[in-house]
């Protein structure tokens, strides 16, 4: 098979100058066999179960990255929802111990993040769920690599408003770095490689490898080179670029799975941004033709982008999985962060954009003294969108103590700088009604 120097040059340009890399290799492991009625036994069983995977995980990823010459930014572990391990114990203090133990294991084996400190409460909370919820603030406040979510809504069962309200209170009890590792979610799929949505879901084998790709810079360059193209031509060009990006994820996924001797799960074809310049999804939207992300036309541009990424990526991956849409996390995307700091983005803009992506409201700062009602109502809005549009969405808010709208708080690393947005603190009686909103007609379509 021969390659034209231009074909080789194109790939090299993406790898060297357009920040094309693999955002995450996420090994997803079934940890339910470690369930024990006593917490000490559970911790030991968990360690014994995970150790054989963890000793091999990072070396395997590094071997593949070296062989291919491709950057893998993070190595992650996803475990079964910890709430399920807590069912026999039902004690929040045990949940904190599990959290800290998982965090310690991740650190010991060079795993950047571990996801699955999570519960599904979209129609109510069980004994294990309640223990996990009670532990969430302390568990995340006292760890550095642990991530989790509460799935408070689903197309099948509707929106658990009591769960939403409780989630808002929990978020407000978290420190900024902890809140950045937590989301309220809806319809979360089993095979998400991204944090904080990753967990080992039902219906999976004991272990699988899932891949998260990056490379919005590649697409931005393509779009910037086509200033006169009509939107259909542009869509086609984005699709072709997305194909190539996703192919790299497919290759790395297959190779790592082979190295580890576990099945390859799926590629999440969402091209993840980062706070680095030239690695931004919002920059693609602006290149499509917006003066600033958030301006009128943003929903149109994002829809065009998301659709092209899905269509290009679908062809490139043997199986697509996870969220597979478009990510516009505000602090984690340099151009989104800039727009937020300038006041060009509001919660309403983000809600509108959530209709055509798989993000929701992600990585936005709120004042530390924000009212739980307002936070809950905001989460409820996004959950309603997810349920009625039948797709996964999340809300990841970062309360910043003493901050006011317009302030910026630097979380560092991939999290970037969080801009605090204005969240009206007027009374919102809706939230105190509680209960679970029934599923919508999307549910009826499923029979």
């Amino acid at each position: 098979m021969r390659f034209d120097p231009r074909e080789i040059g194109e790939v090299l340009e993406m790898l060297l100058f357009r920040e094309l890399d693999i955002r995450a290799v996420t090994l997803s492991v079934n940890t339910l066999p470690a369930a024990r009625p006593r917490v000490g036994d559970l911790l030991q069983a968990l360690e014994e179960l995970l150790e054989p995977y963890l000793t091999r995980l990072r070396p395997a990823v590094e071997r593949v990255a070296s062989r291919l010459g491709v950057r893998v930014v993070t190595v992650r572990l996803a475990v079964s929802p910890v709430s399920m391990l807590l069912e026999p114990i039902g004690d929040w203090r045990a949940a904190v111990e599990v959290a800290q133990h998982l965090d310690k294991l991740a650190e010991r084996y060079g795993v950047d993040m571990v996801g699955g400190f999570s519960a599904f409460i979209h129609m109510g909370a069980s004994r294990g769920d309640k223990a996990l919820m009670e532990a969430l603030p302390e568990a995340l406040n006292s760890t550095a690599r642990l991530a989790g979510f509460l799935n408070v809504a689903s197309t099948a069962t509707g929106v658990n408003l009591d769960g939403v309200r409780k989630t808002a209170e929990l978020v407000l009890a978290m420190r900024p770095h902890a809140a950045a590792r937590f989301a309220a979610t809806a319809n979360l799929p089993e095979d998400v490689p991204f944090m904080p949505g990753a967990y080992h879901g039902l219906g999976l084998p004991d272990a699988v490898v899932n891949i998260a790709v990056s490379g919005p810079g590649v697409i931005e360059a393509v779009v910037r080179n086509m200033p006169d193209a009509d939107v259909r031509t542009l869509h086609d060009a984005i699709k072709r670029a997305a194909f190539k990006i996703t192919r790299l994820g497919e290759l790395v996924g297959r190779e790592v799975a082979k190295e580890l001797g576990v099945p390859f799960g799926a590629v999440d074809l969402s091209v993840a941004p980062s706070p680095k310049v030239g690695d931004s999804v919002a920059a693609v939207l602006e290149a499509i033709g917006l003066p600033r992300v958030g301006a009128p036309g943003s929903v149109f541009a994002l829809a065009l982008f998301t659709d092209a990424v899905k269509k290009g990526g679908a062809m490139a991956a043997s199986t697509i999985g996870g969220l597979s849409g478009a990510f516009i996390p505000v602090s984690e995307d340099a151009v989104m962060a800039k727009a937020a700091a300038e006041g060009a983005l509001s919660f309403d803009t983000l809600k509108a954009m959530a209709a055509v992506c798989n993000t929701g409201i992600d990585m936005v700062g709120i004042p530390g003294d924000a009212s739980p009602e307002a936070v809950a109502a905001l989460i409820a809005d996004v959950m309603a969108l997810a349920v009625h549009l039948d797709k996964p969405l999340g809300v990841r808010l970062v309360p910043i103590p003493g901050a006011k709208p317009g302030d910026v708080y630097d979380l560092g690393g991939l999290y970037g700088s969080v801009a605090v947005m204005d969240l009206p603190s007027s009374k919102i009686p809706l939230v105190s009604r509680g209960g679970t909103a029934p599923p919508g007609v999307e549910r009826l379509k499923k029979g």
Binding site: M1, P5, V11, L15, S66, K244
Partner: protein
């Protein structure tokens, strides 16, 4: 054959090809294809090489190529051919 792509990019000067190919030869890496241009004093070279008889693995070879690149003031990279196969062929 186990093919890889070596890319060299940087300001043009004497000895770039010699420096890089010397390392490849030393480790028994065969050059299968080579394309080189100088545009506005920027030197660019792409080589397709065969690693199947090499006496080091690709990681070690990369390290030595990068060191030589640093000495020559150019950027050197080496990538497995599968990257190009996956991204440029259906």
């Amino acid at each position: 054959m186990e093919l890889a792509v070596v890319s060299v990019l940087g300001a043009d000067r004497v000895g770039i090809v010699a420096g890089i190919t010397n390392i490849l030869a030393r480790h028994n890496v065969n050059i299968v294809d080579i394309s080189q241009t100088v545009v506005r004093d920027i030197f660019s070279m792409i080589m397709v090489v065969d690693l199947s008889k090499a006496d080091v693995d690709i990681g070690q070879l990369r390290k030595e190529l990068e060191e030589e690149g640093k000495r020559l003031g150019v950027m050197v990279g080496i990538y497995h051919i599968d990257v190009f196969r996956y991204m440029q062929r259906i």
